[in-house]
Amino acid sequence: MSAIVILVIVVVLAIIVIGMYNGLVRLRNQVQNAWAQIDVQLKRRHDLIPNLVETVKGYMKYEQETLEKVIKARGAAMTAQGVAATAQAENQLTSTLKSLFALVENYPDLKANQNMLQLQEELTTTENRIAFARQHFNDSVMTFNTALQTFPRNIIAGMFGFKASEFFAAAEAEREPVKVQF
């Protein structure tokens, strides 16, 4: 009799553990998927930059330093490992690109260049996509981390070695979230 009771308890416990484990895996996959979406856009930006430098070089004789900075920031962003380090390197790249585009304003010929206009549009859209994808990624991380750190899932997480994910930090000059009231 008592053997049956013990068996039932063990089976129920096993089912609960399996359910929690699967839930955590699902949330972790969502985070990874959200990250993949950011990654696509980051790669896209890295691919655009050599083209940009090539276009700008002919016009900007005296701004080599700024161009060097962009190339260096791109290199650092491409080799960065992990979410936090990547976020930092990418934000650095964003700010060097900003100062480059500020300089472009001084070159009317370059500004009117068809190739340049296209590149500018592609970089703008890529940056917007990164911003929107980051929002989605951080939402997923928040859900995953909360599930991971609350009782009793934190026990399961400890047993199977789940680790909290890092947030993708935004650069300083970000659009503020809008407060909506209905």
Binding site: T124, T125, F132, R175, V178
Partner: protein, 311 residues
């Protein structure tokens, strides 16, 4: 992030669309049945049933067509063509960014070759939706303003506002077309009847039938105008404005876009009674927007003020 009460809104939009189709089926069946009874002679019941069934069939076919092909029909009526991916890079980019922000699939993107700045969305659900912008909108608005307008349209898609708006648009459009045709044929019919005096009895009967149909339409027209107003209740436009602003986190750009559209004097040639309620700003200029039966949109000044209050 879904807006508060979004799911109630989606449910209401689906329910209203069903109701609309069912009411339409009943009305058409009843009108056709009455017609059948009138021409049925001594034994009106069989012809009433047959005509009633035919009316019901026509209504059902109409409902199914506008459900499955509504977006294409409205785009054709609005003289819109698909936007080329390579030529319209920026427009496609802006829409794709917003799809990332909202998690919606990318709608089909159309362009209307007209200088009046305006835009609308239609379709039956987010998977089968379409957005149209005018050439004037692309020329006159900045990139961020364009993004605000498209975010407003995507909010309509997300809330299923497009479903009801599309169905009612095709219905009102068909009725308006029918009314125009009828009016024209009656005007010509007066001249034509004199010549064919030997067919007087047949012509007289057809004339009477036309008169009855015209009468029914005249009675129904204000009713549909009322429904049209419901389709674009102020609440829905405000909601699409705010959720659009929430999507882009930039209410100021949408406010500026609305200002520019409001200040533009050009009317939109391809807009008509059946499609006016779809647009972000009512394209039929000359109607003062605060009053009247035809005020399908809330006053722009109020919409802009509400957007500015968000920042």
């Amino acid at each position: 992030m879904p807006a508060t009460g979004m799911y109630d809104l989606i449910r209401a939009n689906k329910r209203n669309s069903w109701l609309l189709v069912m009411v339409l089926c009943l009305i058409l069946a009843a009108v056709a049945g009455a017609g059948g009874a009138y021409f049925g002679g001594n034994d009106p019941l069989p012809s009433m049933l047959v005509f009633g069934m035919i009316g019901l069939g026509i209504a059902m076919i109409g409902g199914l067509t506008s459900y499955f092909m509504g977006a294409e029909m409205i785009m054709a009526v609005s003289r819109a063509h698909l936007a080329d991916e390579a030529d319209q890079r920026q427009l496609h980019n802006v829409l794709e960014e917003l799809c990332i922000a909202s998690g919606l699939p990318k709608p089909k993107l159309y362009i209307i070759e007209d200088n009046a700045p305006n835009a609308f969305a239609c379709g039956r659900d987010p998977q089968h939706s379409a957005v149209a912008v005018t050439r004037g909108l692309m020329d006159k608005l900045s990139r961020n303003e364009l993004q605000g307008v498209l975010a407003h349209e995507l909010s309509h898609i997300q809330n299923y506002d497009i479903l009801f708006a599309t169905m009612i648009g095709i219905l009102v459009g068909s009725i308006a077309l029918l009314c125009d045709m009828l009016l024209r044929s009656m005007r010509w019919g007066v001249g034509g009847r004199r010549r064919s005096s030997d067919e007087r009895s047949g012509g007289g009967q057809a004339q009477a039938l036309l008169l009855v149909v015209a009468l029914v339409l005249m009675i129904l027209a204000p009713l549909f105008a009322q429904i049209l107003q419901l389709a674009v209740s102020r609440q829905r436009e405000y909601l699409a404005d705010t959720s659009g602003a929430k999507m882009t986190r930039d209410p100021e750009s949408l406010a500026r876009a609305l200002e520019k559209i409001a200040a533009d004097p050009e009317p939109l040639a391809a807009a008509n009674r059946g499609t006016q309620h779809l647009y972000i700003v009512n394209p039929l200029k000359g109607l003062s927007e605060t009053q009247s039966w035809f005020a399908t949109h809330p006053p722009l000044r109020e919409r802009i003020a509400r957007l500015r209050a968000l920042t």
